[in-house]
């Protein structure tokens, strides 16, 4: 592995950001200085005008392997992640079959270890994600699994959820919930409101999400177990989680790039590329989520990267599967939601890297199973997971130029500000000049 030198970037660190160079060698950040001397044969990256920060960590990636490799596999998902500036992904367990046992978890970890990134696994809470019987969480935890979720669906039965929290607590793992009461969601396909009513589409109301957030906060209060709230999409949901945390409950939450940049009006043309669960909400929700991100009450931006084969997004809106791509554009969309020119680089890396690494237990001190440390500041001695982000680069989303195997992005044609220029994962330069090396 040759050494890498990043030149003349803004090196972002909580203790104080500075302009300078970074020398990376043997998987470690070896030197941070005004100017470093490049060892012979070093790869040089021009970071002029760019932010140099910790590699991004995605808490919520649907890699589709095993079972739906025509939409994505671990290798293609990792490439998409690298382009997006990610150095670690948490693979969600709603594969076919579901990741609810050690054999499948080991399979995904092994496949992930062949990619340049760290691929962690979120295990299923219940067997087959069927919401009835607990999956073997302790065995999976012994393989290093730290997050458990039935995502795709929330755990509907409150008694099962209570038992899962009680069981998880002494294991030191976190349960992550997709909050939507499916009874109240009523098979709907977009947000319930002015647009769904006009379009004659059944709505998934905000209250379907909020009722489950409220229920689970009370179960956390009862059990004391840790819980992470996936893809919150309404102002009320965030307000409830924030209030609970102020009262000392061990809860964290994330928002997606799409819920902070799109609203329900996008569904007006019946384009299934805008169909996602929870659905795109109203502008006041978008504004509240953005505010929560800026003021630090929302912990993380997580992609909910959900590839689907193209023919499935040509189905009628109500029949098409929910979900959209996320990895390759998340950094620019988060930058936009954080106010573009007003975006603080500290906040940017907090929500895209540090906090997700903390929630997924992927930091330097948590190291396990061949994974490197994620989400640390760019300081000497940290694992060399680093991203170079150019906040001034303007570019246009092109669904024909994606690394993902799928093309179901709702952003095709949209101009974005801010682009990942380079990704260094585990000490290797995997993306440079915004293309795979």
């Amino acid at each position: 592995m040759s050494a890498i030198v990043l030149r003349h970037g803004l090196i972002v660190a909580r203790a104080g950001s500075r302009l300078g160079d970074v020398l990376i060698r043997d998987g470690v950040i070896e030197q941070v200085a005004d100017q470093v001397e490049a060892p012979p044969g070093a790869q040089e990256v021009d970071a002029e005008g760019c932010w140099i920060g910790p590699g991004l960590v995605d808490l919520h990636t649907h890699l589709r392997e095993p079972g739906r490799e025509q939409a994505e596999d671990i290798e293609s998902g990792a490439r998409a992640g690298a382009i997006g500036g990610y150095t670690a992904l948490v693979a969600m367990p709603n594969t076919e079959p579901a990741l609810d046992n050690v054999a499948l978890v080991a399979y995904v970890l092994e496949r992930g270890s062949r990619t340049p990134l760290d691929v962690a696994v979120a295990g299923a809470i219940t067997r087959g994600r069927e919401g009835q019987f607990l999956a073997p969480m302790a065995e999976m935890a012994a393989l290093g699994v730290r997050l458990f979720t039935d995502d795709g669906l929330g755990v509907q039965d409150p008694l099962v959820m209570r038992r899962a929290l009680e069981y998880a607590k002494p294991l030191g793992v976190t349960l992550a919930q997709h909050c939507e009461d499916e009874k109240l969601a009523n098979g709907g396909s977009m947000n319930e409101g002015a647009v769904s009513g006009r379009l004659g589409l059944i709505g998934r109301p905000a209250v379907a999400e909020e009722v489950m957030v409220m229920r689970d906060l009370e179960l956390v209060r009862l059990t004391g177990a840790r819980m992470h709230f996936l893809h919150l999409s309404t102002a009320r949901s965030v307000a409830m989680v924030v209030a609970a945390r102020r009262m000392g409950l061990p809860v964290t939450c994330e928002v997606t790039p799409h819920h902070i940049t799109l609203d329900e009006v996008s569904c007006s043309n019946f384009d299934p590329r805008f169909k996602v669960h929870p659905p795109l909400r109203v502008l006041s929700d978008v504004a509240a989520l953005r505010q929560g991100l800026r003021d630090g009450t929302i912990d993380a931006v997580a992609t909910d990267h959900a590839p689907h084969a193209p023919e499935l997004k040509d189905l009628p809106f109500d029949e098409a599967p929910a979900g959209m791509l996320g990895l390759e554009h998340a950094a620019a969309l988060a930058y936009e939601a954080l106010g573009s020119e007003e975006c603080s680089p500290i906040t940017f890396f907090d929500v895209l890297s540090r906090n997700p690494a903390r929630i997924a237990q992927l930091r330097q001190g948590d190291r396990r199973f061949g994974m490197s440390g994620q989400g640390g500041d760019v300081v000497e001695g940290e694992s060399a997971n680093v991203v170079v982000f150019d906040p001034d680069s303007r570019w246009r989303v092109d669904r024909t130029a994606l690394q993902s195997r799928s093309i179901n992005t709702p952003y095709h044609g949209r101009e974005l500000l801010g682009r990942v220029r380079s990704t260094i994962a585990k000490g290797r330069l995997v993306v440079d000049e915004s293309v795979l090396v």
Binding site: E192, G193, A194, G197, G200, F270, D271, E311, D314, P316
Partner: protein, 328 residues
Amino acid sequence: MIDSIRGCSLLTLNDMSCAAITEVLDTAESFVEVNRRAIKKVPALKGRVVASLFFEESTRTRLSFEAAAKRLSADVLSLAVASSSMKKGESLRDTIATIEALGIDAVVMRHKSSGAAAQVEGFVPNVRVINAGDGQHQHPTQGLLDAFTVRQVLAERLGVIGSETGSSLFEGLNVLIVGDIRHSRVARSDVAAYVALGASVRVAAPGTLLPVDIDAWPVSVVEDFDEAIEWADVVGLLRLQHERGTGSFVPSLGEFTFTHGLTWERARRLKSGALIMHPGPMNRGVEVDSRVADLDAAIINRQVENGVPIRMAVLYLCIVGAAKGEVQ
């Protein structure tokens, strides 16, 4: 606002101007005369190909459209997709690509999914798509023929023909739409048509059958059906799907009739001259008492008859795009 459907697809009546709707009604008026001839055929669409694509079967609507197309001398390709191998899961894009290859000018389509017609229009921008009902979204030709029928009957009473009246007969007209508004594509199209033409519209429904976005509709909501009966010049009834009346939306069909059925007692309180309409098929004894449905005030058969001239007008305007007066 859309001021004419000439040369366009017809997906929804939302955003249609009064002029656009009046143009369709006036064009239909000229086709009524064609339908009274011994040889009910004009060469307006000779050499054109219209495909009817009914993913959800509706024999009445399909036959009405096909008769309309044939009377305009179009070639009709009727694909009974509802009963063929094309089922849930086949992408709309694939289905439409197959028939586009046959060189069609227009597709008349019915689908159980809201928005399906709009999606198809996106796939085949050179083909006119005429929405014959999509899920709970829109049923534009039903809205047009309802407005046409009202105008025709009111004009007859004045001894004139409808096209001489433009939209004037709708000014000050009170239209009350009753029943399952929430799930009704007919209600959405009717409201758009009546409001565009200048009528005043109220709706009455059990709380569970009002749409969630009713506050955004250009209508007022009547809490008590009985209080609005005497206000209405036109009562538009809607079909109640039986499963909606078995506990999930209303406790029973009997209770629906008790609160929102047009019973004999309610019908007796209607204004003299008030019109009763229903898009069919009727559940006699549920939305409407059987004796009420047979009153002269009930112009349900006129609605059915007017289906053909309205659909001729829509096909003609959408496909040919010619100006008024060139019909014959």
